[in-house]
């Protein structure tokens, strides 16, 4: 099943990127005849050949990308062909794989299980719209690639007048995913609400994006604060029932998680990401998935203290 998935993933990527760049760039991808002949590999930045020479142990390998595929736009099934995962994170992971010469297989898990799966060695890398926090860095090293903008999803008309992670959320119910960074931020409102003599916000924990959206549709929750693009996607799917109240910035970045003890691999991923950004490939992918390009962030490491 794994093989089938990654194979067809690659197929869709090929079609997407087209034969844009020169073929001499693929010299490094020697082991994969299929790829070297394919136009998709043409997009691989030139510097990748050098990286493959520097990190030869990755070449020809199949690495497993742990994802929580419930976030359309970042990672979700292709509705037209559910045997494939699609989204910006998926494309970025494939691009890193192309650059370093490894193939990507996928392992779908709940959001809360992403880092434990990585720690248990059941995944080699996690690229799944996960925010790189110091807390999470205790479980994995992060290489960042996007700034975080959150959207505040509410029912159409915003009946509770929620205007962000603020006093306006006192006495309301927020749906969140287990393990999301928004959870402690909303919990922290409790003191503020108490001072204003209002009840603290209530949090319902779910294990994927879709369930959070359903909670608002079913009237169980008043708001769902998450990545702005995810929120926009939900509004687009239910324009008569949902709306984005506002966007907020969070002091985080989205990061690629890699195992803590594998600095070599971390360096390779960082270098590949840098090349991908330099070559304009990340911006191209962001445009393709309707992410604002100014969200892009140069790779930096978020590590445990």
């Amino acid at each position: 099943m794994k093989i089938f998935q990654s194979g067809s993933r690659r197929g869709s990527r090929k079609a997407r990127l087209g034969a844009a760049l020169a073929t001499q760039l693929v010299i490094g991808v020697l082991g994969l005849a299929m790829l070297s002949a394919a136009p998709a590999a043409a997009a691989t930045p030139a510097a990748c050949a050098a990286l493959q020479a520097k990190y030869p142990s990755l070449k020809g390998k199949t690495l497993t990308n742990g994802v929580n595929p419930h976030t359309p736009g970042y990672e979700a099934l292709d509705p037209n062909d559910p045997s494939k995962y699609v989204g910006f994170d998926i494309d970025l992971g494939e691009a890193i794989g192309d650059c370093l010469g490894f193939t990507v297989a996928y392992k779908p898990v709940t959001f809360a299980a992403l880092l434990t799966t990585l720690e248990a060695g059941q995944a080699d890398i996690v690229i799944s719209d996960i925010y790189a926090t110091k807390e999470r860095a205790k479980a994995a090293d992060f290489v960042t690639y996007l700034k975080v903008y959150d959207g505040v999803l509410v029912a159409k008309g915003n009946p509770k007048k929620i205007d962000g992670i603020s006093e306006s959320m006192c006495g309301t119910t927020a749906a969140e995913n287990t393990g999301y960074v928004e959870v402690p931020l909303i919990q922290a409102l409790e003191a503020k609400c108490k001072t204003a003599d209002k009840p603290a916000p209530e949090i319902q924990l779910y294990d994927n994006n879709a369930n959070c959206i359903q909670a608002i549709l079913a009237g169980r929750a008043d708001t769902y604060v998450n990545d702005v693009n995810t929120v926009d996607g939900a509004v687009k799917a239910y324009p008569d029932k949902l709306e984005k109240a506002t966007a907020v910035t969070l002091p985080y970045s989205v990061g690629i998680a890699v195992p803590r003890n594998k600095t070599d691999f971390r360096d390779a991923v960082t270098a590949a990401l840098t090349e991908i950004q330099k070559a304009g490939l990340q911006a191209e992918l962001m445009k393709k998935w309707n992410l604002p390009v100014d969200q892009m962030e140069a790779p930096k490491l978020v590590l445990a203290d």
């Binding site: 099943m1 595929p69 419930h70 976030t71 359309p72 979700a76 099934l77 292709d78 509705p79 559910p82 045997s83 392992k107 779908p108 898990v109 709940t110 299980a113 434990t116 799966t117 720690e119 248990a120 060695g121 059941q122 994927n208 994006n209 879709a210 959206i213 359903q214 939900a234 799917a237 239910y238």
Partner: protein, 534 residues
């Protein structure tokens, strides 16, 4: 609706079913294998094994399956066991199912009538043979409904494999719902798929139950039972035995005409007085929870002698008989059957159950029980022929011939293929006697053979026993409340009170002119009861 059908036929979800079935099969198969081991450990006579199995059950049943899945998937790699997601989920499900299946197996094994197990032991079957031919066939029949339940529950539990990334139906449905935002169509489609799968299990269960139904002997009858409009016939089938009993009892081919019992008692006594000792009991003592059951009991029975054990209920008659066959252990004293001690080895070592079984078969002690203890799943013929094949290793043809001959002799030639539950009590007891006689025992122990019978059925059984004494000269020890019968058939009568022999002598003497006042008192009560009943 259109979307619903679209998802219903989507290969992506249909492939998910394959994973769902794979995990379920691994879980059930592994659970069944481990459940058998666990049940065996719990039923074993070694306490440590039972405790170990119990401890495992407490842990496994006491923790949620979802945690066990995550444990197998994420924790086992830390000790170097890296299983694939499917293997980890299958293992977790098997580990979780095992104690539940073990309890089903154990409960149904214990549910098989203990008397049948005792009868198997008395026939010299080793524990494995008792388990294979007596307990398992009956336990398996009765555990099918519970196992069907377990299979359905395992199928549904397989959905938890989604937490460890197995691409099964639930995981695929939730992912598909996330990417399409079509929650209801997707979930209704996968719900229907689950329903079809669990429906298939339920149907398989019905088929198995019908195929194993002993009351439907022919394949045609079994097929017919599967037709829904014929289900109404279930009830009459269940209440068949009483209906069968009356007419058949009247058509007994067993001639009840009394053989002229001109037994020359003196001649008989003279015949076996110098004969070999068949059973020697020396100072047999046994107590239950400090209460004495047998007290320093001595008794010799010579080959060819018929001994009647009489005495009030609870006086130790059954215990004495069961001890002779080593179905009971005792505290001190010895029992020898034709010079051989059952249950102890050459240097006094206590034998294992398996070795005791061999000794029983070798000593040639047959036993007939108050409650018949026929093997409920076997026909009359198989009840007799089966043990011959399993213990004495007689060929099928010879065993069948012997069974037919013996059943004819006890007047049941017309009931060779009847199940015990379709026979009257008297008929069942006659089958039991035939079964006990099949291996040609040298001593036959009969434990109140007519006490569980309706009064009108007592005669036919007594007649069979009478013939064994007169025609075959078989050594017999019979415990009975039928004083008249004892007087007529037995050479010697032994009166047992509180585990001690209070009077012993020629049956005629003891039963008509008792010397001990307590014997007299007991016989008096018996006579009054007989009068009241008659």
């Amino acid at each position: 609706m259109e979307l619903f059908f679209h998802y219903l036929s989507q290969p992506y979800l249909l492939t998910g079913i394959v994973f769902t079935l794979l995990i379920t099969a691994l879980g059930l198969g592994g659970g069944l294998a481990m459940g058998l081991v666990l049940a065996g450990m719990q039923l074993s006579r070694f306490r440590a094994l039972a405790i170990l199995a119990r401890a495992y059950a407490v842990i496994s049943r006491g923790t949620p399956l979802i945690l066990q899945m995550i444990f197998c998937y994420n924790a086992l790699p830390l000790i170097g066991v890296k299983l694939s997601a499917v293997e980890a989920a299958g293992l977790a499900l098997a580990l979780n199912e095992a104690p539940f299946i073990a309890e089903i197996i154990r409960g149904n094994v214990l549910g098989v009538d203990r008397g049948q197990v005792t009868a198997g032991q008395a026939l010299g079957m080793i524990p494995a043979v008792v388990m294979t031919y007596v307990v398992a066939p009956q336990a398996i029949r009765s555990m099918i409904p519970a196992l069907g339940n377990e299979a359905v529950s395992a199928l549904k539990n397989s959905s938890l494999a989604s937490v460890v990334s197995v691409q099964e139906l639930t995981l695929r449905s939730t992912q598909l719902a996330s990417s399409t935002f079509d929650f209801f169509s997707v979930f209704f489609a996968s719900g229907l798929m689950y329903l079809v799968l669990t429906g298939a299990i339920a149907f398989t269960q019905i088929i198995l139950e019908v195929l194993l139904d002993l009351d439907l002997p022919t394949p045609q009858a079994r097929l017919v039972r599967l037709l829904p409009w014929r289900r109404a016939e279930l009830a009459p089938a269940a209440s068949r035995p009483p209906a069968v009993r009356a007419p058949v009892a009247g058509a007994e081919p067993l001639p009840l005409a009394k053989t002229p019992l001109s037994i020359d008692r003196e001649k008989r006594r003279a015949a076996f007085a110098d004969g070999k000792l068949a059973v020697e009991i020396d100072a047999l003592t046994k107590s239950y929870n400090g209460r004495p059951v047998l007290q320093q009991l001595d008794l010799d029975v010579r080959a060819g002698e018929v001994v009647a054990l009489v005495g009030p209920s609870g006086s130790g008659k059954s215990t004495l008989l069961r001890s002779i066959n080593r179905l009971e252990a005792w505290d001190s004293g010895t029992i020898r059957v034709f010079g051989r001690e059952l249950g102890t080895g050459p240097n006094g070592r206590i034998l294992s159950p398996r070795e005791i079984a061999g000794a029983r078969a070798g000593a040639g002690v047959g036993m007939v029980f108050q409650s018949f203890n026929l093997f409920g799943h076997l026909t009359a013929k198989e009840n007799v022929a089966g043990p011959l094949r399993w213990v004495q290793r007689v060929s099928r043809a010879d065993a069948d011939r012997r069974a037919t001959e013996l059943l004819n002799r006890v007047g049941l030639g017309a009931h060779l293929d009847s199940l015990p539950r379709h026979l009257s009590g008297g008929q069942q007891q006659r089958v039991a006697i035939a079964r006990a006689l099949a291996p040609n025992p040298r001593v036959l122990l009969l434990d109140e053979p007519t006490s569980a019978l309706d009064p009108e059925l007592v005669g036919e059984v007594l007649e069979v026993i009478r013939r064994l004494a007169v025609e075959d000269g078989l050594t017999m020890i019979v415990s009975t409340h039928q004083i008249g019968f004892a007087q007529e058939v037995a050479d010697t009568a032994v009166c047992l009170v509180d585990g001690a022999i209070i009077e012993k002598g020629s049956a005629n003497e003891v039963l008509s002119r008792p010397q001990n006042p307590r014997t007299a008192q007991f016989l008096q009560i018996m006579a009054e009861e007989e009068k009241a009943a008659g």
